[in-house]
Amino acid sequence: MSLRERERAAARVCFDAVPSDEDLALLGSVERWRDYRSMVRARLTRVVGAAMPRLVAALGTERFEHACTEWLAAAPPTERYFRHVPEGFLAQQQSAFDADTKSPWLGELARFELMAWRILHVDDRDVPPVGPLSFERPIVMNPALEMIDLRYDVQPHADPHRDAYEKKPLHLLMYRSAEFKAITLLLNPLARDLVVAWTDPANADQTLAALTQEVAKRRDTRTGPKFIESLATLLEDYLGRGIVLGSRSDSVPSP
């Protein structure tokens, strides 16, 4: 047996829903290769559980194990970095969770938890030079920031014994704080549209003033003193939280 055939047999033993007797025999020690299978699968399912503990609790042990079996058999992990493995799990299982009629919030819970996991780890070093916030320059946002629109409020319950989530459309912003926590903020529709515009890479060269006016116009919102006052409060809050880092200091503002 060539080394390549051996690798493939070992991968099948680890990932197939049921390892074949033929593969186990090829590898030479049925008992020990079953041990390898157990160790590999335990490690992979453990990281999924670490990333999405409330999802795993909602699924229950049996269904979670079934989901992992499906995932590993259909789409073995191709993520080199271990922290990315839960992304592969959810990519393979998302449609099943979304289609769950008994727990219609399941898919959103999974997305929400995985977003929090991602936020904790995302590389935030690739930012342009930052200066003081100016309306006449492009805004620089924290790279460890994501938005999510939900139909169900799948944020953690105050009561951990509650096992369902109420239907309640939400716009949430999640960011990594200076203390390395994933923090969630509830946004109104206008704030949501503003943050979407400010974080869109396609708008990287647009000034804060231009983007803000564009959103206000699209939403038919009057940019009078009350709007300006609310915007200033929002920006001050976001600067304090580290959601907004400042303005680009290297760019020439668009005319």
Partner: protein, 291 residues
């Protein structure tokens, strides 16, 4: 080449906060897995920056898998090279194993058969890594649980063959030699004797689990056992001073327990490497045995 001696500790997220608060002086260096830090921000990056400022840092990879037959991922090699330069790694080690097939990762260290095709595959891959990373490469002998050769010493012969073909170094995991010796019934000192001591660039020690059926599993989740201390001392008497790293990845205890282990390792280290204790033991592999 950096001269690095003494006992180091695998720097892990579970104990990073306590470690950075205490900055234990018994720990002479730390080791990190680049895969845990490359393209990652947040707490991991902050910890890395802090520990780099205070300790010499070594790197030990998890996914190069020198026995893998898939071609190297060039993008990953570029990321790794950038990381190794960033932290000024004196060498980089990874495992003598394979870790998946056709682009899939098992995220574990699967054992290689000790035959010619594997020697050639490993040797080719190590040379590619040396060229791509522009840093000295060391490979680590792994624990394995399914028989891979005719006898337990086949692994040592395999390692020696790779050393001869590549010019690489070996990152000798003393615990793995011991675990394999118990699982497959060979003398671990004979295994150590076959490795040219001058090719050993660094060592690892760790704890392992003994299952009820007697199989020993390299968990990195227990304290180092007495027999591994003895084997480390034996090895250090052959090699002289080399950096020795304590690995602990599971069941991570309070930091002080790890420091206690580091101190105990330090006593063994000092005893084995004091000038009048270190024997210039020739190796079988360099052809000078018995001279």
């Amino acid at each position: 080449m950096t001269t690095l001696h003494g006992i180091g500790l695998g720097f892990r997220i579970d104990m990073a906060a306590d470690f950075l608060a205490q900055l234990p002086s018994d720990v002479k260096f730390v080791e990190v897995h680049p895969e845990n830090y490359a393209k990652r921000g947040g707490l991991y990056r902050r910890n890395l920056n802090e520990v780099r400022d205070r300790y010499p840092l070594l790197t030990h990879g998890l996914t190069m898998c020198f026995g893998h037959t898939d071609p190297f991922d060039r993008e990953f090699l570029a990321e790794l090279k950038s990381f190794l330069r960033e932290v000024d790694a004196p060498w980089h080690s990874d495992h003598l194993c394979f870790g998946g097939a056709d682009g899939a990762f098992v995220h574990d260290l699967l054992p290689l058969p000790f035959h010619e095709e594997a020697v050639q595959t490993v040797s080719d891959r190590i040379r590619q890594a040396q060229d791509a990373l522009d840093v000295e490469i060391a490979f680590e002998n792994v624990s394995y649980y399914a028989p891979q050769g005719e006898d337990g010493l086949d692994e040592a012969r395999f390692c020696v063959e790779v050393l001869e073909r590549t010019g690489a170094k070996i990152m000798l995991d003393v615990n793995n030699v011991f675990v394999n010796s118990r699982n497959f019934g060979f003398d671990p000192r004979s295994w150590i004797d076959m490795i040219p001591p001058e090719r050993i660039v660094q060592m690892h020690v760790a704890g392992h689990l003994v299952r009820p059926d007697g199989l020993r599993i390299d968990t990195h989740g227990e304290s180092v056992c007495d027999e591994v201390y003895d084997l480390l001392e034996y090895t250090l008497r052959r090699t002289g001073p080399k950096p020795v790293l304590l690995e602990r990845d599971n069941n991570v205890p309070p930091l002080q327990e790890l420091i206690d282990e580091v101190q105990r390792l330090g006593v063994v280290y000092a005893r084995a490497t004091s000038t009048n204790q270190t024997a210039a033991v020739p190796s079988v592999a360099d052809g000078s045995a018995g001279s």
